[in-house]
Every structure is written in structure tokens, then in C-alpha cells.
């Protein structure tokens, strides 16, 4: 099998590293790649924002062509599928039949394998938990070349090291996902305005528990004082069907010039968005457009131009949120996109991100000033017992991870057992010393 030498980065298009990239088209070819002498990592949709799915100086294995459905039991709703299947494809095939993934990330371009490796969460975490919770088993090729079917019952340590484990336990080739039944792929959405953070948190506290899905967009360019104002979206599955728009995605065909997304433009965009998007009474919308709003514009990351962008996403426990959120927004400067969600109980994944509390995500064009700002935000997060989401991370340091992820030691023990030679490696795992030793 031939490799292609490519500079790969994450969705933020920063931190590119050269890698020998393989793209197997059959499972048998993937298994052959396990004999590679150099370190390697699997890459699904490449939608992690930083360097999680790049093995610089080693091999990166693209799973995108290993994307078949294997079986579906219409009585129980259990789906078996290859790990390269995307949420978009899954939705396209199954939603019309009355089944959806119980947890879906914000873009359909993520693969099932990537979703497990990051134990992704959606807009319904309080009610439905994170992705791994709904996975009954997965097939994993471990560095020794063995293919194991891993379930909580057969090997809970390996299961929980893989869920959220950033692909470091091996290559996930297939998994069994418990799908959720729905009547129609349509949702009723209310969009409530909030003038400031306090109003927003009140809406979250009082109304979010009454709905299945909730997410808030905060105007990052709002004048001080009104900081934290925005729109809270609350949604539930609807009983009536709605006509979905013809699938037609537009693409950003080239890197935008660096001056396109600037504070003035973003401020205007934010104000317009606020004005047109508020509707307190429920409106019926196709579920696809609610779950994957940004997928209408392919390659939207190119709007940031060649410098790329980063996202800082953290979670703060409920008890500390009232103190932490204003501080974070204060230190946030002018983020281009700010999203707030509530999260519920922690999962069992050792490096799983969610904990009961609030998660804030901030997007910035990349620059040295941004790097400084992210350090500051990280400090505030640590000071309030919160943690950073590894799926979005591009700048954290090893000390951050040690303090934020109490189960890191256990994770490292499992890795030492499963991958003693450290064959699975990403730029992120190197940067954060996830293996526990400087490689």
C-alpha cells in the first residue's frame, strides 16, 4: 500500500505536521497496516480542532473509506457499523426510518470511531449522556495486531480507556450503537433571548431541564456589561413531519483573506444574528438543520484564512459556574463564536470530558495573542476545578492535563499494558505526554 506524504492539521488548520498518510479501502488492508514500523494514529473525519489526528513524522491512517453499515436490528434498534461511517451518512440513511444516533456532535462529518475516541456529547447531555454510553461493544485492533471485541463486560478497563482515549489504545474498526427511535426527523425549537449572562443562566436553570435539547449562543462581541447576552435554543422531538430542504451544501472554495473575519465584521454578524433568530414560540424544523447547522457550508474553516483558528472549550462544575463564567467571559476578549451548554453526569471514560456543569466554547483566529489568552482561560478553568476538551485542544500543556483529568494515571497504566512500545501516537499525545513519559 502506498502512502502519500501530506501536511495534516486539525479542523482549526493550525499545527500542521508532515505525515505518511495511508487510506485503506478494505478492512484486510487496514489490518496489514498494523505492521508498520513507524508510529501511527487513525484519523476519521479530521474534525478535531487541534493535533489529535495527526502523527507527525509517522503514519496517519485515514478510515474514511471504511464506512459501511454492517447490520441493524429493527426490533432492538442496535446498529453495527464500521467506524468510518459518518453521522451525516447515518442520519441520511436511518432518520427517515425512525432511528437516530442518541448522541450526535455538532457536525455530521465526524465518524463513529472519532466520536467514541472523544466520547463526544451533544445538546442533550443532561438527559442522554455522552456517545460511549450508548456503545455496546467495539472492535479494536491493538498494537500487537490482535483484533478484540471490547465491551464493558469483557474488559471494562480497555473500554473506558478507549472511550475518550483519543485513539491511543488502537484502531477502532467497528462498533455497536444503540440507536434511538423517533417519530419524525423534525424538532420543535424555541429561541429565547437573554440580555446578559445572569438571564441566560436563569433560562438554563429553569427551562433547559424541561426540554430534551438545549444550547446557547452568546454574542462574543457584545459591549461589556451586556456580556453574556445571546439566544438560548430549547428543542424537543416533534410529532409532525416537516419537509427537509434539498441537501445542497455550499463550499468555501479558497482560503479567505486574513482581514475577512475581523472584530467589526463579527460584531455586525452577531447583532444581525441576534435580531433575526429570536422566536420564543416553538417552530418546527428539520432535525438535520438543527443538529448540524454549520454543515450547510463545507470548509467553513477556510473563512479564517491561512492563519487558521482555535477553539477553547472547557467545562466548569455547577457549583463553581456562577463564579467562573463571568471571569471567563471577562478574559475572553473578542471571541468570534461563543457557545454555552449544560452537561450532566460524568461518563466512565478515563479521559472523558463531561462533568455536571456548564461547557463554554470560544473560537478565535490564531495568533500569538490568542495563545496567551488561551493560557489565561486555562488557568481560570483550573482554578475553578474545570477541564479542557481534548477534542478541541491545540495549546494545553502536560501539567494542565494532569490536574484536569484525575483518571489520567489509570489511563496511562492501561496504555502501558496495551501499547508498551508506544506505537500509537499523535502530535497531541506527544505534546500532552499522554503516555506518561517523554517519547
Amino acid at each position: 500500500m502506498r502512502a502519500k506524504i501530506m501536511d495534516l492539521s486539525g479542523w482549526g488548520r493550525t499545527l500542521a505536521s508532515p505525515s505518511s498518510v495511508y487510506r485503506p479501502e478494505r478492512q484486510s488492508h487496514l489490518r496489514q497496516l498494523m505492521a508498520l514500523p513507524e508510529p501511527f494514529i487513525a484519523r476519521g473525519g479530521g474534525r478535531s480542532y487541534g493535533d489529535q489526528a495527526v502523527c507527525g513524522g509517522g503514519a496517519t491512517i485515514l478510515t474514511e473509506r471504511l464506512d459501511r453499515f454492517i447490520s441493524f436490528d429493527a426490533r432492538t434498534g442496535l446498529l453495527e457499523a464500521e467506524a468510518g461511517l459518518t453521522f451525516a451518512d447515518l442520519y441520511r440513511v436511518m432518520a427517515g426510518r425512525g432511528w437516530v444516533a442518541p448522541v450526535t456532535p455538532g457536525t455530521g462529518r465526524v465518524t463513529l470511531g472519532g466520536a467514541l475516541a472523544n466520547d463526544v456529547h451533544g445538546k442533550n447531555h443532561e438527559r442522554d449522556g455522552s456517545f460511549a454510553h450508548h456503545v455496546q461493544w467495539f472492535d479494536l485492533i491493538t498494537p500487537d495486531g490482535a483484533i478484540r471485541r471490547v465491551s464493558r463486560q469483557s474488559d471494562s478497563d480497555l473500554f473506558n480507556a478507549t472511550a475518550g482515549g483519543c485513539g491511543l489504545t488502537g484502531i477502532i474498526t467497528a462498533l455497536a450503537l444503540q440507536m434511538a427511535p423517533i417519530t419524525h426527523p423534525s424538532v420543535n425549537v424555541r429561541c429565547l433571548p437573554a440580555n446578559d449572562l445572569e438571564a441566560m443562566l436563569t433560562i438554563f436553570h429553569e427551562l433547559a431541564p424541561l426540554h430534551r435539547f438545549s444550547v446557547a449562543w452568546i454574542d462574543g462581541t457584545a459591549v461589556k456589561g451586556k456580556r453574556g447576552g445571546g439566544i438560548v435554543e430549547l428543542a424537543d422531538w416533534a410529532d409532525t413531519p416537516v419537509k427537509a430542504p434539498a441537501p445542497r451544501s455550499r463550499r468555501v472554495p479558497f482560503d479567505a483573506p486574513g482581514w475577512l473575519l475581523n472584530p467589526l465584521v463579527m460584531s455586525v454578524f452577531n447583532q444581525l444574528y441576534r435580531r433575526i433568530s429570536t422566536h420564543p414560540s416553538p417552530r418546527l424544523r428539520p432535525a438535520g438543520t438543527f443538529f448540524y447547522p454549520l454543515d450547510a457550508l463545507d470548509d467553513w474553516n477556510r473563512l479564517y484564512g491561512r492563519r487558521g483558528f482555535v477553539q477553547f472549550q472547557c467545562v466548569i462544575p455547577t457549583a463553581r459556574a456562577e463564579a467562573a463564567l463571568p471571569r471567563l467571559l471577562e478574559a475572553a476578549g473578542t471571541p468570534y463564536l461563543v457557545v454555552l451548554k449544560r452537561l450532566g453526569d460524568m461518563g466512565d471514560g478515563m479521559l472523558s470530558f463531561p462533568m455536571p456543569g456548564y461547557t463554554l466554547a470560544l473560537d478565535y483566529p490564531w495568533s500569538d495573542a490568542t495563545a496567551e489568552r488561551l493560557k489565561q482561560l486555562s488557568r481560570i478553568t483550573r482554578d475553578h476545578d474545570g477541564r479542557i476538551y481534548l477534542a478541541k485542544d491545540a495549546c494545553a500543556d502536560p501539567a494542565d492535563v494532569v490536574s484536569m483529568y484525575p483518571r489520567l494515571d489509570r489511563f496511562r497504566q492501561i496504555l502501558a499494558r496495551i501499547d508498551p512500545a508506544g506505537r500509537l501516537r499523535s502530535e497531541q499525545s506527544r505534546r500532552l505526554h499522554l503516555h506518561g513519559h517523554t517519547p
Binding site: 502506498r2 478494505r26 484486510s28 473509506r65 464500521e82
Partner: protein
């Protein structure tokens, strides 16, 4: 009107797999034919979920000419409706290796040309016997003119293209269309990692163009379309200059 059953020859290749998905989404029954039947069984399950009412997997070895007749009978049993063929198997070994070892060149020629002719002749007999359907042959722009850098593969594909044109003439009286597709660079395992591949089109887009062309009964399709003009120019260069080109 019964839906057309599509027989996908070379079912594990990226373009064939994409074509099978499109046909499945249109609700067509399918026959997946290839050597890696383990792989094809999973593909069959996938295609069933994507909309194919029935998917059969048949063992098909392109180089096993003696069994092609039996294979075609197997494709045609089970249904009286139209049975169409999507021929998309091929082999592109490195030119320098084929020059060093003729047995490899022979396998290349036999796979790309002889095998295709063998299986399509068997289908042709069935079509003349009254079966309805259509034929799509995936050849290559490489067959349009012999170039020093890949003439062995190119020659086999040239043979295949001419064969398809002739077959079209033969089957016209039986109402069967033969669509000849000549792709330029496609983004598949065949071209992955090769230097100098520009503008490789996705397997899905090629498969969609093939499906559309088959439905319309189109005779010839270059994909993507600029290749029609690229090859026209290449073909127009006089031989005394062409022979000097390092392409």
C-alpha cells in the same frame, strides 16, 4: 416495470462500491461480483440498508475465463427483469515492473482486456437471446493514445475501449445500450500516493456520472469532462513530436 438488477463486476473497487451505493439508493437489486467475498458480504449488508431490496454476492475471478459462462448464468437466474452490467475491474501495475517482468504485463492485459471481453461476450449472448439490460464499461483515457510511461496498461484499455464500441454496434439490434466511460485521474487506491496526480475526481462523482449516462443510454463519457479536450489535444500531436514527449 421491474427495476433493473445491476451486476457490479469488481465490487471492491472504490468506483464500483460508489456505483453500487447509488444503485442501492435508487432501489435497484444488486449482484456484487469479486474475489473477496468476505468483504463483499459486508458490503451487501450495507447496500441492503441503503435501499437495495436484494443483494447477492457471487464469486467472480476475472482471470478464470472458463467459468465466466456459468457466472453469467448465475447472474441471470432469480429474475426475469432487466439485468445491467457495470464493469469496473482493472489492474494498473507499475510500467517499469511490467517491462522487467512480462508475466506481470500479461496479467495486466488479461485482467483489463481479455477478462472483460470474456465475461461481456457471455452477457452479449444472453442479451441477444432476449434478456433486457444495459452495459457500462469503465475504461480509461490511458487507452486513447499509447504513451511511453504507461503503454502496457494503456494498450489493454485501448483494446477494451474498441471492444466496447464494437459490442455497442452488435447489441444495438437487441436494444441494449453500451456506455463507454473513460475516466481521467480518480481519487482511488490506484492513484493514492502517486506523484503528479492533479484534480483527481471522487469515486462517488464518477459513479454518479456513470449511472446518469447509463440511464440516458449515452454512448461515450469522459470523466471529468475536461479530459475529452485534454485527450483530443494529445491525440492531435503528430507522432514525430509525440514520441519525444516524456509523458
Amino acid at each position: 416495470m421491474t427495476t433493473t438488477t445491476w451486476v457490479i463486476l469488481g465490487g471492491s473497487s472504490a468506483v464500483a462500491a460508489a456505483f453500487a451505493r447509488i444503485a442501492a439508493e435508487q432501489g435497484c437489486p444488486l449482484v456484487l461480483a469479486g474475489r473477496d467475498t468476505t468483504h463483499l458480504e459486508v458490503s451487501a449488508a450495507d447496500l441492503g440498508l441503503r435501499g437495495a431490496p436484494l443483494v447477492r454476492v457471487l464469486d467472480f475471478d476475472a482471470l478464470d475465463f472458463d467459468n465466466h459462462g456459468r457466472f453469467v448464468s448465475q447472474c441471470l437466474e432469480n429474475t426475469d427483469g432487466p439485468v445491467a452490467v457495470f464493469l469496473c475491474f482493472g489492474l494498473m501495475p507499475e510500467q517499469h515492473r511490467m517491462q522487467a517482468e512480462f508475466s506481470l504485463a500479461r496479467t495486466c492485459i488479461d485482467t483489463n482486456f481479455t477478462a472483460a471481453a470474456s465475461v461481456l461476450e457471455a452477457f452479449a449472448a444472453a442479451y441477444e437471446g432476449g434478456r433486457k439490460g444495459a452495459v457500462v464499461v469503465v475504461s480509461s483515457v490511458a487507452g486513447d493514445r499509447g504513451r511511453a510511461k504507461n503503454y502496457l496498461y494503456g494498450a489493454a484499455k485501448a483494446g477494451l475501449s474498441t471492444y466496447a464500441e464494437g459490442l455497442r454496434g452488435r447489441l444495438f439490434a437487441s436494444g441494449i445500450s453500451v456506455t463507454l466511460v473513460k475516466p481521467g485521474f480518480l481519487d482511488t487506491a490506484m492513484t493514492w500516493g502517486l506523484p503528479g496526480i492533479k484534480g483527481a475526481a471522487s469515486p462517488r462523482s464518477c459513479a454518479a456520472a456513470c449511472f446518469k449516462a447509463a440511464a440516458a443510454g449515452t454512448e461515450n463519457l469522459y470523466f471529468p469532462w475536461p479530459w475529452r479536450w485534454i485527450m483530443a489535444i494529445l491525440k492531435a500531436i503528430p507522432a514525430r513530436w509525440f514520441k519525444r514527449l516524456k509523458i
